[in-house]
Amino acid sequence: MTSTDTPATTRSGVSGPPVRRRRKKFSFDRVSFFVVFLGIPVVGYLIFVIWPFLQAFYYSLTDWSGFSPDMNFIGLKNYVNLFQDSIFLKAVGNSVTLLIVLPFVTLVIAMAFASIIVLGGPSNGPIRGLKASSLYRVVSFFPYVIPAIVIAIIWSFVYDPSAGLLNGILQSLGGNWANSFAWLGNPRTALVSVIFVIVWGLVGFYMVLFIASIKGVPAEIYEAARIDGAGRFRTAISITVPLIRDNIQTAYIYMGILALDAFVYMAGLEAGGGPGNSTLVISQRLFTTAFTKGQFGYASAMGVTLALITLLFAAVVFAVNRLTGGTNEVSE
């Protein structure tokens, strides 16, 4: 624990008379400072976050049921079983679908709205945003502060076959087929309906994020693009996206982690995994396997699989960003 007081004294020594050196390395103040400031948070973090993560890897190699102290080390048997578990594979398929669709759809819409709001003003004079657009910003950001479980509950009512708002609207528009159509109960529409809800909840958040990043791009760049004759769409694709690529990368990884989780949305919309498990996701399966069936070893193997998919996804996002010409710096 060497401190920074060496450069401190030398630097202040330049400007004024020599300062007396303080050797206070082991003073009570200093020791207690490090114990409390670094010791407590790091120990707490190790116990409640890192230690469980590490344990999960070990448990995934055992047949532990959780409620008895005995567990047998069974090597990779859980993983072999996972690959033959058709329900789990179905869940992986659904999670990967969410992983591919959700970040892309959400971020494209968010980016489009952000571009319209910041750069959608008249094409002469200085670069301006769309007039009177703050209302859109305020309203679309609002779902971010509603707990996701409440969003899911509200939408499960909107989708309700007989009393729901959606079918009510469709019927009043003359869609008789919508008479008690079960959006969440039909294997063909269930996943799409869930995806819509998640997009609904998150577009505003990423829109606000992108608005800030687009505002960070110097206006001269947009003026230059306009003088060169670039249209709005071209500007968005060739100017905005490359210039804020690190923010997009961060957003993409956040969205990917969220899409792989999706647990809370599913708990409110499709608690049972949907019709024919058509919306079952890894996190739901893991939760049931652990806390309902008590197969903690097996559930831990699912957790490790989920973690590996997450890391793989992050690696792919980094690689794509790099290959298309971005830097490799992590924007935190």
């Binding site: 920074t4 200093r30 948070p41 469980p52 509950i153 994020l209 800030a212 004759g229 647990f263």
Partner: protein
């Protein structure tokens, strides 16, 4: 829009080109502007309508709700709200949520600020290691940790208790807090801390009286983001806090909605949703600018 008139001087070309573009663009601008507004208005309606419908339905009886999604409530009263608050227990979940969220917020902000300060401003062996450990905590899915975490809390005797939940919330909010404040403390100037140290202030005093006040904007941002995150927390309470009298709002709402199918009080469920949304809506409308600012700073460094 490039011009090919070679005989004209560049200035004239530019001039003509710009008038032509302007005429064309003014018409185009109007179209683009209209389409933009139409698209954004549709999105705004999509956001607002389900929420307003929830508000309207919260005054209807279950029978009215099933009669038609559009019918207005026949009697305007707060019966549903009363039964949501008391019978469904939303009131006590609210209190639990406030205790847990504020407890965890204080813990994670205090220790997050301390930890990031030490990591950012002192050099010692293991500094980078701790930093990367925090990064790992941000990247790995909480689902990986949830099973062992259950037993960690059980062995410590704090499973299904509010203190156990507070500590876990705080620990899982720590990496984000440290990351954000780490960058913030790095940018603060060293000279004031040095001056304080020369004047004989110890490390504790330097932190609380000199550094922490300077970090106030950063602290405000992280507090807001952590608050929203902890308020929405769902997995941790569902897995680690199964005693109904300790339930927080999110898990209480989930339980309420899944049992409503049997004991059917849909009006009360709508009312409960409004009860959860309303306070955050009010706070949001007041702090809307700061919150959106926080999101932008928090993720666009």
């Amino acid at each position: 829009m490039t011009t090919t008139q070679s005989e004209a001087t560049p200035a004239v070309v530019a001039d003509r080109a710009s008038t032509r573009t302007q005429r064309r663009s003014r018409r185009g601008d109007r179209t683009v502007g209209t389409i933009s507004h139409v698209v954004l208005v549709i999105w705004t309606i999509l956001i607002v309508v389900p929420l307003l419908w929830t508000l309207m339905s919260s005054f209807k009886t279950s029978k009215e709700i099933f009669a038609s999604p559009f019918s207005l409530p026949t009697r305007f009263n707060f019966d549903n709200y009363v039964s949501a608050w008391t019978t469904a227990g939303i009131g006590s979940y609210f209190v639990n949520t406030l205790i847990v969220v504020f407890g965890a917020l204080i813990l994670t902000m205090l220790f997050g600020a301390m930890c990031s300060y030490v990591l950012a401003r002192f050099e010692f062996r293991g500094n980078r290691a701790i930093y990367y450990l925090m990064l790992a905590g941000l990247t790995f899915p909480v689902f990986l940790a949830i099973v062992p975490l259950f037993f960690v809390l059980k062995n410590l005797g704090i499973l299904n208790t509010l203190p156990g939940l507070i500590v876990t919330y705080a620990a899982f909010a720590l990496p984000f807090t440290v990351f954000f404040l780490f960058a913030f403390f790095k940018t603060l100037s060293k000279s004031m801390a040095e001056a304080a140290s020369i004047d004989g202030a110890g490390e504790w005093r330097t932190f609380f009286q000199i550094m922490l006040p300077q970090a106030r904007p950063g602290l405000a941002t992280v507090t807001i983001l952590n608050f929203v995150g902890l308020w929405n927390q769902f997995l941790l309470p569902v897995a680690l806090n199964s005693d109904p009298k300790n339930w927080v709002l999110t898990q209480g709402m989930a339980a309420f909605s899944s049992q409503a199918g049997y004991s059917v009080n849909f009006g009360a469920l709508f009312a409960a949703s409004i009860l959860v949304i309303l306070p955050v809506l009010v706070v949001y409308l007041i702090f809307q600018r700061q919150l959106q600012g926080s999101v932008s700073i928090g993720t666009n460094k």
